[in-house]
Structure formats: structure tokens, C-alpha cells
């Protein structure tokens, strides 16, 4: 199970990094979203994997680590705020600069001189 989770985190990171390196704003936002999944999962597994032992106090004998969960919960909400801000920034850039390249200039639209 641990190997599967490690593989999943790796694939999410690789996909996120590749998309974050693209030139246009929309793939970059997709990449940042994938990277935030990867980071959230990575932080979450720092508490190790456990099945059927949620950190809700009951008559159960064991609980999983609640601390990474609390940290990741706010991280999920904050990364939503960040995604929203970045995508609106991309819209603003498109309105002001007339294209959707992260540099504000398309390589093939650049001045040919």
C-alpha cells in the first residue's frame, strides 16, 4: 500500500511540475492544482498510513495521527484560495496584455526584429 501511495505522489508531482513549466496560464494553473494534491498527500502520509482508526475519540484502542490531518485540512482550503487568485490573475493578464502566456508575450507573436 505504501508503495502505491509513494507512486501516486510521484506521478502527481511529475505531472504538476511538467504542467507548471508550460508557457500558457491555464496549464500552469492545472499544474499547480496537481502539485497541491501531491503536497497535501505528502504531508498527510507523514502521519503514516492507517485504516479504520479515525482520530475521533471513542472506545477504540488506537487512533491515527490527527496533527498532519489538521495541517492538511487548512492547506486544502488555502490552496483553493491560491488557485482562485492565480486563475483570476491569469484572466487579468489576458485582459491587459491580450494573450494568455505567462510572460505576457507569445514567443511566435514576439517582435521579429
Amino acid at each position: 500500500m505504501e508503495a502505491l501511495l509513494a507512486l501516486v505522489i510521484g506521478v502527481l508531482t511529475a505531472s504538476g511540475v511538467f504542467l507548471a513549466l508550460r508557457g500558457q496560464t491555464f496549464p500552469v494553473v492545472l499544474g499547480l492544482t496537481l502539485l497541491s494534491y501531491a503536497v497535501n498527500l505528502f504531508l498527510f502520509v507523514m502521519g503514516r498510513l492507517a485504516i479504520g482508526v479515525p482520530p475521533v475519540i471513542s472506545s477504540a484502542a488506537a487512533y491515527t495521527d490527527p496533527l498532519p490531518q489538521a495541517l492538511v485540512l487548512t492547506a486544502i482550503v488555502i490552496s483553493f484560495g491560491m488557485t482562485a487568485f492565480v486563475i483570476v490573475l491569469a484572466l487579468k493578464a489576458r485582459a491587459e496584455l491580450g494573450n494568455d502566456h505567462v510572460d505576457g508575450v507569445h514567443a511566435d507573436e514576439a517582435d521579429p526584429r
Binding site: 505504501e2 502505491l4 501511495l5 509513494a6 507512486l7 501516486v8 505522489i9 510521484g10 506521478v11 502527481l12 508531482t13 511529475a14 511540475v17 511538467f18 507548471a20 513549466l21 508550460r22 496560464t25 491555464f26 496549464p27 492545472l30 492544482t33 496537481l34 494534491y37 498527500l41 505528502f42 498527510f44 502521519g47 503514516r48 498510513l49 492507517a50 482508526v53 479515525p54 482520530p55 475521533v56 475519540i57 487512533y63 491515527t64 495521527d65 490527527p66 496533527l67 490531518q69 492538511v72 485540512l73 487548512t74 486544502i76 482550503v77 483553493f80 484560495g81 488557485t83 483570476v88 491569469a90 484572466l91 487579468k92 489576458r94 485582459a95 510572460d103 507569445h106 514567443a107 511566435d108
Partner: protein
């Protein structure tokens, strides 16, 4: 030394002064007194050091050393030692320079114009400016894409270097969980969806749908690994994120131009692979190692100290309430920042979709509108339920806020912004302000009772019909979190949607 020799020799031993504009006379009495005081001090210190400077020196030396002083002896004459030899060498050198001072001064006069230190200094400075300018131009070409590349490459180099001389084994001693078929299927789905997002990122709508699949499987992973709160949060954030990206995608090109530099794709592919394998290996190394957690404290004190059985929620609103206060502030700022960015934004959006078809005229299908109206009270009831039980069961302000926001956004989607504006104000800034104020006031209230900021308390009330009901001050804090989340999420999405509406109305005319 040379200057002292010149001073003494020229004043006292070089005969009568010549070429003076005025004849010097003996200085008045009080001009000589300061000199005489210094001379007397010199003589006394030299003759009897132990009586004069010894205490002062001992204090100063002890303060510098910050330790007891070693044994030492103050005297004028210590016999022949290296210090004396060095003093003699200095005196001899000084006398030699004075003896040669005429040819040396002539040499200085002669080479004054040619050996100019200022010219050398300026040349050095210009060279340094040129080098730093070259380095800056190499790194900062005005391209954000290049900056991201350099940033990631630097992170990878810094991350991998310590591994090169690491001797510990990659796999630790902790025994893992067995793999089951359902998890394998979910993991495979996630990996395929993630790769599909990359592969199809030029067909943007499709990529967005596969991104949604990734998010949903991530929330399933949270369900599987004992994190119900995270699963609920991830699920509701996922819905909001996809709606947000769909709204934004309307104003962006639907299809991206193909990459015109295949080298860059390969370069980025290599970086992505290295980063991905690094993250995977690191997670594997951590997950297979046993560890000591500080969770015991939180688990033990959650019920007696925080009055809640859901430890994750108690950590958020109580143990680490200050953090949460900061986080809802960040969310509020993101919402307000987006509101400011969207002000006066003018965007051209296509009247037709990518295939050249006109958008459907029936923007708000009647079945969806009716159903969503039926669902609203139910969804709000669920949100209140989640908010109230959050302290003891999976739930809480963050999740309840997101559920409420989703319920309201569905109404916007089903009926359109104009219909909603007649029924609900789209300015949610007061909601954000109220939430932040409530959370801060809950914290401040503990000052009134002489406790530190954000200390929480709780008690049990016996309500008629309901039975015993717990009331915690952390619940007021959680209500503040709830209000900020609802306010910020709606502020972002409703204003982005309003951009959409004004555009659609223009097209309809």
C-alpha cells in the same frame, strides 16, 4: 615610526628652522599643560604599572575573554623576547625610511600622474558591475517560464545533493499495509487521470474533467486512510475548484497552440521525472520508517481540555486556533484581492464554442432549476448539521462553509446571476468581516477572564427535548471560520460569474 623620527629630528636636532613666514615664540603656559599631563601619565604608568593601570586592564581583559584571566605580570622590561625584537625591527625600519625620505618623496612626485589608485578602483568597480549585470541578465530574462524552470532546477539540485553521500537504506523497518484490489484500482485511476491531464492539457475542457477525477480519488484516499474530515473538505473544495476553473476557462482560449520547441518538452519532461521520482522515493523512505509522534498529547487532551471528540477539529479551533485565525485571514485576503482584480475587468469571450457552435440559448434548463431549488434547504440543513457536530464528529466550520457555498453556487448555476441578485445580495464582504470579527472576539474574550488569547472553555447545557448539549467557546470560533469560508468562496465565484453574465447579456442583445 618614520614620521615620529622625522618629527623629533626636524624639531630638535636639525638646526634652526628656515623659510618661516613668522618667527615662532614659546607657547603660553596653558597650551603646554595638557602635554605635560600626558607625559606624566606615561612616566607613571611605565614606572609603576601595578599601581595604575592593572585594575583597569584586568577588568577589560576579563570582559573580552569572558573567562578567568591566565597568570600574567605587568612590567616595562621583560628581557629579550620576540615582542622586543619586533619593536626593534619597527624602529630600525622607521629610521631607514626617514634616512631615505628625500629620494622616496622625489619618486612620489615623479609617478603621481601615472600610478593613480582611483583609476584602478574605478576599473575594478566597472568590471564588477559588468559581471553582476551579466549574471542578472542570464538568470532574469524577463521570462516567468524561465524563472520557474530555474527555481525548480535549483530545488532539485539542493534536494538531491544530500542523498548522494547518504549511507542509510532507502527502505526502513516499518511493516506496511497489504495492498488490496480496490485500492490498486483507485490508485491506477488516479495515475491514469493525472497523466491524462498532462497529455490532454491542450484540450482544456477535457483536461479539467480529468483533473476533477484526480481530486475525487484523492478524497477517496483520505476516506480510506482514516481522515474523514480531509475527505469532506477535499470533496467540497474539488466542486468549488472545478466550477471556478470552468468559469475562468470561458474567457481563455479553449485550445492551446502546440509547443514549437520540442527540446523544451524533453527538458521539462526530464525535470518532471526527476522531481516525481524524488517525491516518490522520499515518501517511500518516510512511510517505511517507524516514528515518534506528538499526537499523544492531542489525543489525550482533546476531550478533557478541548471538550471535543473530533481531535482534528479540536486542533484547528482550539490547540492551534491562532494558526486557523491566520489561515482564514489569508482566505479572506485572497477573496478580497480577487474582488479587486475583477473590478473593471473587460474580457472578450467567444460567442461560439471551439467547434463553432452557438452556446445553448436555454442557459438555465427548467429541470435543473426546479431540482436545485428543492435541494437548497436540504443542503443548508446538512451544512448546519456538519457545523454543529464538527466538534465531536467529522465536520466543522471549513467543511460546513464549503457545503453552504456549493449549495448557493448551484443556485447561481441553475438560475443565473440576475435571478439570484434579486433574492440575495452578491456583496459578501460583510460576511467575511463578521466571521473574522467573531473569531477574533472569541479569542479576545478569554482576556476578559485573565486567560491567554484564544483560550477556550466549554460546558454542558441540558436543553429541553434535545437533552444534554455541549456548548464550547471554540464553536463560536468555528462559526467565524464558517462565515469567512462562505463569504470568501461566494465572493470569488459570484464575481467571476458576474463577469460571465454581463458578457452573455451583451451577446444576447
Amino acid at each position: 615610526m618614520a614620521y615620529s623620527v622625522r618629527f623629533i629630528h626636524d624639531v630638535f636636532f636639525n638646526g634652526e628652522p628656515v623659510d618661516l613666514p613668522k618667527t615662532p615664540h614659546e607657547p603660553p603656559r596653558w597650551m603646554k599643560v595638557p602635554v605635560e599631563i600626558l607625559v606624566v601619565l606615561c612616566l607613571v604608568v611605565g614606572i609603576a604599572p601595578a599601581l595604575t593601570v592593572a585594575p583597569l586592564l584586568a577588568v577589560a581583559a576579563a570582559a573580552t575573554l569572558q573567562a578567568p584571566l591566565p597568570a600574567y605580570h605587568l612590567a616595562l622590561w621583560h628581557g629579550f623576547n620576540p615582542a622586543l625584537a619586533m619593536s626593534l625591527a619597527a624602529i630600525a625600519g622607521g629610521i631607514l625610511i626617514y634616512a631615505m625620505h628625500r629620494p622616496l618623496l622625489a619618486l612620489h612626485e615623479h609617478s603621481l600622474g601615472r600610478l593613480d589608485a582611483r583609476r584602478g578602483f574605478n576599473a575594478l568597480l566597472e568590471a564588477l558591475f559588468a559581471i553582476s549585470g551579466w549574471i542578472t541578465r542570464r538568470i532574469d530574462t524577463g521570462s516567468l517560464q524561465r524563472q520557474v524552470f530555474l527555481f525548480l532546477a535549483a530545488a532539485l539540485v539542493l534536494g538531491f545533493t544530500p542523498w548522494l553521500d547518504s549511507t542509510s537504506a532507502l527502505t526502513g523497518s516499518r511493516t506496511g499495509l497489504p495492498l488490496d484490489a480496490v485500492s490498486l484500482l483507485a490508485g491506477a485511476t488516479l495515475i491514469v487521470a493525472s497523466l491524462a491531464t498532462v497529455w490532454l492539457h491542450r484540450q482544456r475542457l477535457t483536461a479539467l474533467i480529468t483533473l476533477g477525477v484526480v481530486g475525487l480519488v484523492v478524497s477517496l484516499a483520505f476516506v480510506k486512510f482514516s481522515a474523514p474530515d480531509l475527505a469532506l473538505t477535499q470533496l467540497s473544495v474539488e466542486v468549488v475548484t472545478i466550477v471556478l476553473l470552468l468559469l475562468a476557462l470561458y474567457f481563455l482560449p479553449q485550445h492551446a497552440a502546440p509547443e514549437h520547441d520540442p527540446g523544451r518538452v524533453w527538458r521539462d519532461g526530464v525535470i518532471a521525472l526527476v522531481a516525481g521520482s524524488g517525491a516518490a522515493l522520499l515518501s517511500w523512505a518516510v512511510m517505511t520508517r517507524p516514528y515518534d509522534t506528538i499526537a499523544g498529547y492531542f489525543l489525550a487532551n482533546s476531550v478533557p481540555g478541548g471538550g471535543g471528540k473530533n481531535v482534528v477539529n479540536v486542533i484547528l479551533v482550539d490547540f492551534r486556533g491562532y494558526d486557523t485565525l491566520g489561515e482564514i485571514t489569508v482566505l479572506a485576503l485572497a477573496g478580497l484581492g480577487i474582488y479587486a482584480l475583477l473590478e473593471n475587468l473587460r474580457l472578450d469571450a467567444p460567442d461560439r464554442d471551439a467547434a463553432g457552435r452557438v452556446w445553448d440559448r436555454d442557459a438555465h434548463p427548467v429541470i435543473m432549476a426546479s431540482l436545485s431549488r428543492l435541494l437548497l434547504p436540504l443542503a443548508l440543513l446538512v451544512a448546519v448539521f456538519i457545523l454543529l457536530r464538527g466538534h465531536n464528529q467529522p465536520g466543522g466550520g471549513f467543511i460546513a462553509g464549503l457545503v453552504t457555498a456549493v449549495a448557493l453556487i448551484v443556485q447561481y448555476l441553475a438560475h443565473g446571476g440576475a435571478w439570484m441578485r434579486e433574492r440575495l445580495s452578491s456583496t459578501t464582504q460583510p460576511l467575511i468581516a463578521a466571521g473574522l470579527a467573531l473569531a477574533t472576539l472569541t479569542g479576545l474574550a478569554s482576556w476578559a477572564y485573565g486567560y491567554p488569547f484564544l483560550t477556550s472553555t466549554f460546558g454542558h447545557l441540558n436543553w429541553p427535548l434535545v437533552g444534554e448539549f455541549e456548548l464550547a467557546s471554540a464553536m463560536a470560533f468555528d462559526l467565524g471560520v464558517f462565515l469567512v469560508v462562505v463569504g470568501a468562496t461566494l465572493l470569488i465565484l459570484v464575481n467571476l460569474g458576474a463577469l460571465h453574465d454581463s458578457r452573455t447579456r451583451k451577446a444576447a442583445r
